[in-house]
């Protein structure tokens, strides 16, 4: 998989962020595995630690496996003012995980993030690439219920 992705880009360091995005998007567990780090660093002639340091700097990347659905809740001041704390609590309770964790069945990860840029409909969250706004704890329950109907566990998707 890595070779196919790498070959699309010139081997220059400024393509690193693009490549990392693409590797992560193609990984069912939405992270960048160690093997990926090694192959990227070989290709771009960087040390693995340089690549690792870039990955851990940016919040959209992860070096550990995550759920099939990443729930990103905003807790920046505008969402905070409109009640994001109760949204985070609700998510934590119904998913049974704290922020930064992934459910045992590999379906959901919960992340508290900075501004998503949809502050007009605060409080807001994103599940993978889908946005949800004007949230209430009740709305959150309904949304998660819908995602739960997807019975396919993360490890069997894609590839």
């Amino acid at each position: 998989m890595y070779e196919r992705i790498l070959r699309k880009y010139e081997p220059t360091a400024d393509n690193l962020l693009f490549i990392l995005h693409e590797i992560q998007d193609n990984e069912p567990k939405q992270y960048i595995p160690e093997q990926g780090i090694r192959e990227v660093s070989d290709y771009l002639d960087l040390s693995p630690s340089q690549v690792y340091s870039v990955i851990t700097f940016y919040s959209l990347y992860s070096v550990s496996p995550r759920g099939k659905y990443i729930v990103r809740v905003c807790d920046s001041p505008p969402c905070h003012l409109m009640g994001s704390v109760s949204i985070i609590d609700e998510l934590s309770e119904i998913l049974g995980i704290k922020e930064g964790e992934t459910t045992e069945n590999g379906m959901f990860s919960l992340e508290v993030v900075s501004c998503l840029g949809v502050c007009g409909v605060a409080p807001a969250m994103m599940i993978n690439k889908e946005l949800f706004g004007n949230l209430t704890p009740e709305k959150v329950r309904n949304i998660i219920d819908k995602y739960r109907q997807d019975k396919q566990p993360a490890s069997q998707v894609a590839e």
Partner: protein, 551 residues
């Protein structure tokens, strides 16, 4: 090019917030229903960008009437088609409750004629289909570029920009002509043009809506910047969370290449320019221009020391212009109408208009473009519809998280670079977060400090350690364990950060802390001496796991 005449046009707003309200489903149903009713030949459905209304669900506008329908669902479509489009009877129950203000993005017919419209940046948003280059061209798009390449020398363009007194809209407020002129005069090549679309300032989404609603405007401005400075490469750095912006911009760029507006010998001139979208990966500090350059080079986004400034040593240490999306969006109209025209808007030291995102406890949160110098009161009560909760206004945070807190004594302040300076506040990114009495200022300051603690790049200790300490102070006060001395210590620490941090992220601590203590000191004192949170938000005990540090 449009060559068919339709009786009516139905605009459907497609942006991130209408998409999440189901705009695609409504659009599909609308097209199907029109077909079924055999109206497809006479009524055209046009996708457009944001209409500036944030909490109104799916929004449709029917022209020529200029009727706005809000919160439209699939179920309503049939009624709109049957009643309104077929029989000409307006569906009252779906109407927008208020008349759209002149300066929200929405238009009514005769406003096209208004001479002194406060709409420059957003003039096409909500009017054209952003995915169709022909619609931009039909509204004078790329004619500024044509004029520049045919009739103007680089120096002439800089002259108009100087006359216009356009200043940067990203936060720092630096004169545009000065940057352009500096890069133009640099002997070193290659030179680069960078558009900063890493809009991460909490409460700000103006750039997203410009990118989603009128992407070609930014492309046109960047090509002009390239011609003026002798640069042949441009990058638009868009934050990774803005999927729709990235897709629309990439599409717009490929259309521009097809029309030879990008690439070799643009408009058959000697000038060539290439443009590429770069996608960010989640980092607030990338909005700082030198951090953005580091990120473009594929590195950790840690800001550089300045000087040297990017105009001299920028991307790959070559001369580079970095302009914000909104700043660039002003450029084509300044070329077409002249710098003096633009200077005619605004106040003594702040020319033109400003796009604001207004939010919080407001009846109509959303996006507005108004003349520089509009008062905070007008923005809250005229354009924002006043406080939504029926409670009293308490505070406004102006300029995003890196901005200043103000109370009701500042309501009549004119929003401009110079007037805000008098209040030690800044225009910043143009985000205005409005809070009613139910807000607790200690809680909001805590949220702001945690945000910066999380987003600090960690490079310099004043910022890395400073925000951590400030968060601890605020949490201590929220737990009822604060001492009066803490307030002075916080101010001193913030002042130290202001003087020693490498970039604005660390420096801006002082603005938050000093402004909130100036206007709301009493509330902090109540928390400390009476151990009381009037708003009932702070726990006043140690059980505050909830507000533990973010990962």
């Amino acid at each position: 090019m449009p060559n068919k005449i339709y009786n009516k046009h139905v605009l459907i707003s497609i942006d991130s917030s209408t998409l999440l309200a189901g705009a695609r489903q409504v659009e599909k149903k609308l097209v199907e229903t029109l077909k079924k009713e055999k109206l497809s030949e006479s009524i055209k459905v046009i996708e457009t960008g944001s209409l500036g209304l944030s909490d109104q669900g799916v929004v449709l506008v029917v022209y020529p009437e200029g009727v706005h329908y809000v919160h439209v669902t699939e179920k309503d479509v049939e009624e709109i088609v049957r009643k309104h489009l077929k029989e000409g009877e307006i569906v009252d129950r779906l109407l927008l409750e208020r008349e759209p203000e002149v300066s929200t993005v929405s238009y009514t017919e005769d406003e096209f004629e208004l001479e002194k419209q406060a709409r420059i940046v957003l003039k096409n948003c909500g009017i054209i289909n952003p995915e169709d280059i022909d619609e931009y061209i039909a509204l004078e798009g790329y004619s500024a570029l044509g004029r520049v390449l045919a009739d103007m020398k680089p120096q002439d363009v800089i002259g108009e920009m100087k006359k216009s007194e356009l200043r940067g809209r990203g936060g720092a407020g630096f004169p545009l002509w000065f940057k352009w002129n500096a890069v133009k005069n640099e002997p070193e090549t290659p030179k680069y043009i960078v558009c900063n679309a890493d809009e991460g300032e909490p409460g700000t989404f103006k750039d997203r809506l410009i990118l989603e609603g009128d992407p070609h405007r930014i492309i046109e401005a960047m090509i002009i910047a390239g011609y003026v400075t002798g640069s042949h490469h441009g990058y638009i750095y868009i934050r990774g969370e803005y999927e729709l912006s990235i897709n629309r911009m990439e599409r717009a760029i490929s259309q521009a290449y097809k029309y030879n507006l990008l690439g070799e010998n643009i408009f058959e001139s000697d000038f060539s320019f290439d443009l590429q979208v770069k996608k960010g990966a989640g980092s607030y500090v990338c909005g700082e221009e030198t951090a953005l350059l580091e990120s473009l080079e594929g590195k950790r986004a840690t800001p550089r020391h300045k000087p040297p400034f990017p105009t001299e040593k920028g991307l790959w240490w070559k001369p580079t212009i970095i302009n914000n999306v909104e700043t660039l969006a002003n450029v084509p109209d300044i070329i077409l109408n002249g710098g003096n025209w633009f200077r005619g808007y605004g106040t003594e030291q702040s020319a033109g208009t400003k796009v604001y995102t207004i939010l919080g406890h407001l009846t109509y949160p959303g996006l507005i473009e108004v003349e520089m110098g509009t008062t905070l009161r007008d923005i809250i009560y005229k354009y924002g519809g006043g406080i939504s909760t029926g409670r009293q206004f308490k505070a406004a945070l102006i300029g995003g998280a890196a901005g200043a807190f103000l109370d009701e004594t500042a309501l009549d302040i004119r929003l401009s670079y110079e007037d805000l300076g008098e209040y030690d506040a800044v225009l910043g990114s143009g985000a205005i977060l409005v809070m009613d009495e139910s807000a607790c200022m200690i809680d909001i300051l805590g949220s702001t400090m945690r945000f910066f603690q999380h987003e600090s790049c960690g490079q310099c200790s004043p910022c890395r350690v400073g925000y951590q300490q400030l968060t601890l102070y605020v949490d201590k006060i929220a737990q009822g364990k604060g001492e009066m001395k803490d307030l002075d210590d916080m101010l001193e620490l913030a002042s130290f950060m202001n003087g020693s941090a490498i970039c604005a992220l660390g420096q801006s601590a002082y603005l938050s802390v000093s402004s909130i203590l100036r206007y709301f000191r009493k509330e902090f004192e109540e928390h400390i001496t009476d151990k009381k949170c009037k708003a009932g938000i702070c726990s006043m005990s140690e059980n505050t796991e909830k507000i533990a540090m973010r990962g």
